[in-house]
């Protein structure tokens, strides 16, 4: 008896929740049903495609016979997509790099760990990972940068670009608001010039035109040139994002700092920038995410980032016709990184919130 009653009241609660949230009027009921219909029509076939009708073991011939995803293709090609042309026997090197990188990222999540030491650790890792990839010392086989590819290359291009362009963006933003005419004009000129040009053309210039200007005999590494091009590009965008933050700081903050005798650099570093940078965390992360994805453009100058190797995998004559699988795999990888970045930024915003004055 008792149990039955409880059961009934529980059902009542559920029904009430459904009515309050999903079916509280005809329109909401209609939308709910439409969405359920949509979900059923997308999720079930996707599930079927990926798990039921798919083929995990077999060759391309076998794959073509099944309706679902050719997981065998991904199984065969994942290693190539992730590591590309890097010499097979040395694959442990980029893999180790990526793992240390991810571990460092996780370790750096806690704001209490931020400080000079952590910065030093990252710097050390930068140098370490560079030599681990390149080799040529400690008996490691030398691997040319042309062979660096796949996920490590994408991560490197994006991480270096974002971390270097952030301080550059701060300088450019301060420059654009400077009272010194020359500094201001140079900053405005740079920002507007770069923003007016697509990243693709900057990359092309770095790879095709730039070497023409160099004296004969001097060769600058193609990867380095691309990296610098991306940094230059992002810096302009970062600068504008940060300038927005600077403009949001009320004049009173400048005046209070001035009246206490803080000089320009102290005022900026201790009072203005900490507030301005905090305000612009969302657009900063927005820019970072968008730039993370834009690094895939380096494939047009034949740098073999993740997108390039994925394309390579698709065009393997033995495995033609499985591009959907490859693209979805790419999408999932990019999504994981970008989503984590976005999620972390929201957490940071919450932590830094001190309530407005």
């Amino acid at each position: 008896m008792e149990e039955n009653k409880e059961e009934k009241s529980r059902i009542k609660i559920i029904l009430k929740w459904l009515k309050d949230n999903l079916f509280y009027n005809p329109l909401s009921s209609f939308i709910t049903i439409l969405i359920i219909y949509g979900i059923i029509n997308i999720l079930i076939p996707s599930y079927q495609w990926l798990f039921v009708d798919s083929l995990l073991n077999g060759d391309a011939e076998a794959c073509r016979k099944v309706e679902g995803a050719c997981l065998a293709f991904l199984k065969e090609k994942t290693r190539y997509i992730l590591l590309g042309m890097y010499p097979q026997d040395e694959h442990w090197r980029p893999v180790l790099n990526v793992f240390i990188y991810l571990a460092l990222l996780v370790f750096s999540r806690d704001r209490s760990r931020w400080g000079k030491k952590l910065l030093g650790l990252w710097f050390f890792f930068g140098v370490f990972s560079f030599f681990l990839m390149r080799g040529g010392i400690f008996g490691l086989e030398f691997v040319e940068t042309d062979k660096w590819s796949g996920l490590p290359l994408t991560l490197m291009l994006a991480t270096v670009a974002i971390t270097v362009s952030y301080p550059l963006g701060i300088l450019l933003a301060l420059g654009r608001r400077s009272k010194m005419g020359v500094v201001r004009l140079l900053s405005i000129g740079y920002i507007e010039l770069i923003r007016g040009v697509p990243l693709i053309s900057i990359l092309f210039m770095s790879s095709v035109m730039f070497p023409l200007f160099l004296p004969k005999g001097i060769v600058i590494n193609k990867l380095l040139r691309a990296q610098v091009a991306i940094i230059m590009f992002i810096s302009a965008y970062m600068a504008e994002v940060i300038r927005g933050g600077l403009q949001a700081i009320p004049n009173g903050q400048y005046e209070a700092s001035d009246s206490l005798g803080l000089n320009y650099f102290q005022k900026m570093r201790l009072v203005i920038l900490p507030q301005a940078l905090k305000i612009v965390i969302p657009p900063t992360v927005n820019t970072s995410i968008s730039m993370f994805k834009d690094t895939s453009l380096v494939m047009i100058i034949a740098l073999q980032d993740m997108m390039y190797t994925a394309k390579g995998a698709m065009s393997d004559p033995h495995w033609l016709g499985f591009s959907v699988e490859a693209y979805i795999f790419m999408a999932v990888l990019y999504f994981c990184f970008c989503f984590s970045l976005g999620k972390y930024s929201r957490r940071l915003e919450k932590e830094l919130d001190t309530g407005l004055a």
């Binding site: 009320p250 009173g252 903050q253 005046e255 209070a256 001035d258 009246s259 206490l260 005798g261 803080l262 000089n263 102290q266 201790l270 009072v271 900490p274 507030q275 905090k278 830094l352 001190t354 309530g355 407005l356 004055a357």
Partner: protein, 246 residues
């Protein structure tokens, strides 16, 4: 023995574009003096006070503060500012720092004090303005009156020789005005040199050595509070006082 001169303003003129906001201002303040400046809105009171620590730049005349003339030299300006405290109408506390950090920031970076000494001084002044329990809170968590008292303490931590106040109570709810004025009266009694823009005439009567009335960018009348309030000389002063003292 007369006290030494700490502020000397001679034939000061300032324009905002074509607008002549300060006209031929002359003002001398000796150490320990308390000056109250009043006048209608837009008469240039804030501008004058802000010229004294060069938050505003003047075009003509000279301003000497603590023996240093305020000119373009950035080093001089910063050193004057370090010795001149300023309290604003809207407090202007640093919202991203705790109350304690607000107070220790300038002593640590401008006075090059070590953190421990700076905190000791900070607690001393927090106690004086009676908010030592709030040291670890952020400005956004305090009431307006508390914030303004923190702002005063923040200036005092620099051990200033002169304190400037620009309408320190006019952004406060009436019940909080008193707590701020009390702190200011205490400060005056200790002999601080103070220049206060305010419409709190009770405060003026209690602590001021001189009251200055400004209108249209000029000093119209200047007198001790007694005669200033009981026997104003100029019509404009009379009009202003009649409006404000109702």
């Amino acid at each position: 023995m007369t006290n030494p001169l700490v502020i000397s303003v001679k034939s000061l003129d300032k324009w905002f574009g074509k607008f002549h906001v300060l006209q031929n201002i002359n003002l001398e303040v000796t150490q320990g003096e308390k000056i109250v400046i009043c006048g209608p809105s837009g008469s240039g009171k804030s501008t004058l006070v802000r010229c004294l620590n060069r938050l505003e730049v003047h075009q003509k005349g000279t301003i000497v503060v603590n023996g240093i003339e305020l000119k373009d030299n950035v080093k001089n300006v910063d050193s004057v500012r370090a010795d001149v405290g300023m309290v604003f109408q809207h407090f202007n506390l640093f919202p991203h720092l705790t109350i304690l950090e607000n107070l220790t920031l300038a002593p640590i970076w401008v006075r090059k004090m070590n953190r421990k000494d700076a905190e000791e001084i900070a607690y001393h002044y927090l106690e004086r303005v009676q908010i030592q329990e709030q040291a670890m809170k952020f400005p956004g968590q305090l009431s307006g009156g508390q914030q303004q008292r923190v702002a005063i303490a923040r200036s005092l931590c620099m051990k200033p020789k002169i304190m400037l106040f620009d309408e320190p109570t006019s952004a406060l709810d009436p019940e909080m005005v008193k707590e701020v004025l009390e702190v200011m009266v205490d400060l005056a009694k200790e002999g601080m040199t103070m220049i206060v823009v305010t419409h709190e005439m009770g405060f003026a009567k209690e602590v001021a050595d001189r009251v200055i009335f400004m209108d249209y960018g000029k000093i119209i009348e200047e007198n001790e509070p007694g005669p200033f309030f009981s026997d104003p000389q100029h019509d404009r002063t009379k009009l202003f006082l009649s409006q404000i003292l109702i």
